[in-house]
């Protein structure tokens, strides 16, 4: 199921990109296409930051997610101001958008870690009799 969901996300991203590339060639850049391309760029920057945080820091899980929350919110706000996503009065919405994603990611990650630890420990028990 996990693989199907992951493949669905990758496939839909590829379909969106290819449809938009054709649309850009055909009708030029529209506001909707621009927004989706900006989201792709922002996702790439956040994923890159996430990779380096995971690779070069060994913070506790909550600490790691707190740093990710601050970094991702900062990036979204910065990117949002450059791209003109926010009015000066509602920039704080970035904290809510990112917060929802981070909280979901935290609980999914915590569940996966618990499941992996249980699997490994039961594997050790079986292996060693």
């Amino acid at each position: 199921m996990k693989r199907i969901l992951r493949d669905t996300c990758i496939l839909s991203a590829l379909m969106t990109l290819s449809v938009f590339v054709i649309s850009i060639v055909w009708v030029g850049m529209t506001d909707e296409i621009k927004l989706v391309l900006e989201l792709f760029i922002l996702s790439f920057i956040i994923s890159l930051g996430n990779y380096f945080l995971d690779e070069y820091t060994s913070l506790p899980m909550i600490g790691s997610y707190a740093v990710k929350y601050i970094a991702a919110t900062g990036l979204v706000m910065l990117f949002g101001f450059i791209a003109g996503w926010f009015y000066r009065s509602n920039f704080w919405m970035a904290f809510i958008y990112v917060g929802i994603v981070i909280v979901l990611a935290y609980f999914i990650d915590a569940f996966k870690i618990k499941r992996d630890i249980d699997y490994i420990n039961s594997g050790i028990k079986k292996k060693k009799g």
């Binding site: 995971d54 899980m61 992996d116 490994i120 420990n121 594997g123 050790i124 292996k127």
Partner: protein
Amino acid sequence: MRIEKRLVEGRPLTVIIEYPEWNESVESLVRKIGRMDISFVGKTEEGSVNIGISDVYYIENVERKLFIYTEGDVYRFDGSMSDIESRIEDTALVRISRTCIMNTDHLKEIKQIRNSHLEAVMDNDEKLIVSRKYLPDIKRIFKREGI
């Protein structure tokens, strides 16, 4: 598959594989047995020692120097983490953090300690810090072994 074992004194450990035809399973079996024979040259004050892969508990990079830890000894190893990683594919050794490779054959338990840090307890009760990022790689080893 039939497995025969016989004691032959005074000769090195020998594995003979008889097969009706060479196929992927036979190739995989030969590769697996070959990997069990991997060894590393560890250095001590007295000289060099050959360390079999099954004797390795973990390998750690400390200030750009590699050390091989067995049940009770430590050896210096001349090489890089990537040298080691290229040789341990399909073995029980797996990277558990940016600076450490662990032998899952000597793993006693994985624990989640306070602050959600992960800790691997080895058979000799040594404790190693496991990065969350590498947990799926450890799980993959147990999955591969069909456990």
